[in-house]
Each structure stands twice: as C-alpha cells, then as structure tokens.
Subunit: 96 residues, 2 copies
Amino acid sequence: MMVVVSYDVATSSLGGARRLRKVAKQCVNYGQRVQNSVFECVVDPKQFEQLKHSLLSIVDLEKDSIRFYFLGSSWKNRVEHHGIKQIVDVENPIIL
Amino acid sequence: MMVVVSYDVATSSLGGARRLRKVAKQCVNYGQRVQNSVFECVVDPKQFEQLKHSLLSIVDLEKDSIRFYFLGSSWKNRVEHHGIKQIVDVENPIIL
C-alpha cells in the first residue's frame, strides 16, 4: 500500500533541526522524497507500523505535526504532480 | 471528494515568496490548511479543475512543485494525524 507522509517540524524550537533530519532519514528507509517534507512510501502494514513508531519516537507532538495519507494499492491514479521533481539530499535536508 | 494539495514553492527565487502567499490564498478558498504547505480540500470535479487551473497559473513549474492526492469520498479513514494542529494565518504564511 502507498502511504504519503507529510510533516511539519518546528525547526525554530530546541532540537527542531535535528528532529527534521532524523524524520527525513527514517522516511528514506521506507520510500521516496517527493517534496521537502513529503515522502511517498510503499509499505505493508507491518512496515508502516515500524515507520510510524520510529517517527513518533522522533517528533515532539507538542510542536511538530505528522500526517499519514493512505492511498491503498491502486495509488497511481490517486496522485498528480506538476512542476519540478524534488531531488533532495536527505543527509543535508534544506532547513527552510 | 477530498483532494490533498501539497506544494513546495522556491521562495529563494524571484517572486517566490509572493507565489507562496498566492498559492495559500487560493487553497484557502477550497479547503483547510493542515500543515504549512498542505491543504485538504473537499471539492467536486468542477471545483477541483478551477483550483488546479488557478494554482498552475500562479506557480513556476520550472522551480515549484505541486502534488494532488485524491482520497475520494470516504477519505476520513485515509487520513491519520499526530501532533499539533496547524493554525496558520494564511494572510501572512510563515515563509520557512
């Protein structure tokens, strides 16, 4: 199944930039970065639970936001893209 | 139907900050901001075409990126959120 992971990490808060890098590093293990803070991950339910568990252990739920969008298995017709394709080095994500 | 709109606008490029504000202002006419660059819009096909047309007339497709995710009508079980709810003043969006 395809799960879209989008997140806002409060980089202005203490440890925010580090949390941002760690979130991206986790996501890259499960899928592809399509925008600065959006990953598309093709995972099975068990992998999703692992990804979710690792992300929720990184973020600060008082300051950050994570959304999961479940597109199912026939996800290709649920996604439309316009513009540049993000090629971002997850090692040094752009901290906007 | 629910359409998730996520976007990356190159604010470092000429006119980028202005494009970012205009994209957000358009999206707010059709839905709710859930993260800095993510809106959830409940629209019919005609409204979606209007939204898409207006967004594509604002962004620079050489520099910016827009993704539409179609969650359909039974979208509530396709979305999971953790963390803070973004309450962002779309008039003065945070330019990260």
